[in-house]
Amino acid sequence: MKISSDLKSRLIEAMPNLRAFAISLCGNADRADDLVQETLVKAWHKIDSFEDGTNLKAWLFTILRNTYFSQYRKGRREIADADGEFSSRLSVQPQQQSHIDLQDLSAALNELPDDQREALILVAAEGFSYEQAAEISECAVGTIKSRVSRARVRLAEIMQLEDWEDFAGDRYGDAVRVSGDPVTRG
């Protein structure tokens, strides 16, 4: 098939977003790049089913997340980097404090259920509307709203818990340390 150079440049344009979404889902950059690669190959082969004038990025995200959920999801837990792929992927870490923040955030994201993490990234990080996110995730708008809402709160809770942990460790030693994995997956 012949792909126009315009379309090719639009695919390239979407790549950073595809990678960031894939890293968020996979929790591992190597697998994320494999996932992006597979997404691009699939997109290339079924480009005829893309309706010109519609949102290419949303179309690509749909392919990526379907590929993730059908093929990549089950390996996630074993491979995800506990210290956080988010932070380790960042080449620039301006301050020590922000480095710690990023690790916390990444670890907290890893604690979220897959569907909540997906919804949160699509809406809160990527900036899709609830309607677009619902189309990408192939579920109802209300479901996306509720996932995003729960994910936001859950993420804040997890990160707060980690702050307690640090504080407790500093101030009280192990006696009151909130250790292990007190946050159960919902």
Binding site: K8, D33, K42, L90, L105, A156, Y172
Partner: protein
């Protein structure tokens, strides 16, 4: 309550509360009383249904998420992904996904040299 639970700080609402109310937690943003009414029944402090999060904390984490994601968007795209599009473009019919990964150490140079 089993001693083992005490030692990890679970089921000790008074200890948790102490941490809360003296916490230097930025995300708390002055809402130090969160959980005070709920978390006094020996529940674990991680029980999300018990502690309504202050909206400021939720917003702060949301902004951090966005900032971190935006940082990722600024990362350079790996060469192999850019190369992939060129490869697909050249083959026209395209190759199955498996072939692409098996082939990714061989650039178009190798293919050219193999000709003739």
């Amino acid at each position: 309550m089993p001693e083992s639970l005490r030692s990890v700080g679970l089921g000790r609402p008074d200890a948790d509360m102490d941490i809360l109310s003296t916490g230097s937690n930025v995300a708390m943003q002055g809402r130090l009383a969160v959980g005070k009414h709920d978390d006094n029944q020996g529940k674990t402090s991680g029980n999300s249904a018990m502690n309504p999060m202050p909206p400021q904390a939720v917003d702060a984490v949301g902004r951090k998420l966005k900032a971190t994601y935006d940082e990722m968007l600024r990362e350079p795209i790996p060469e192999k992904l850019l190369q992939l599009l060129d490869d697909l473009d050249q083959t026209k019919e395209g190759t199955p996904a498996g072939d692409v990964s098996a082939d990714d150490t061989r650039g178009s140079d190798a293919a050219d040299k193999g000709e003739e």
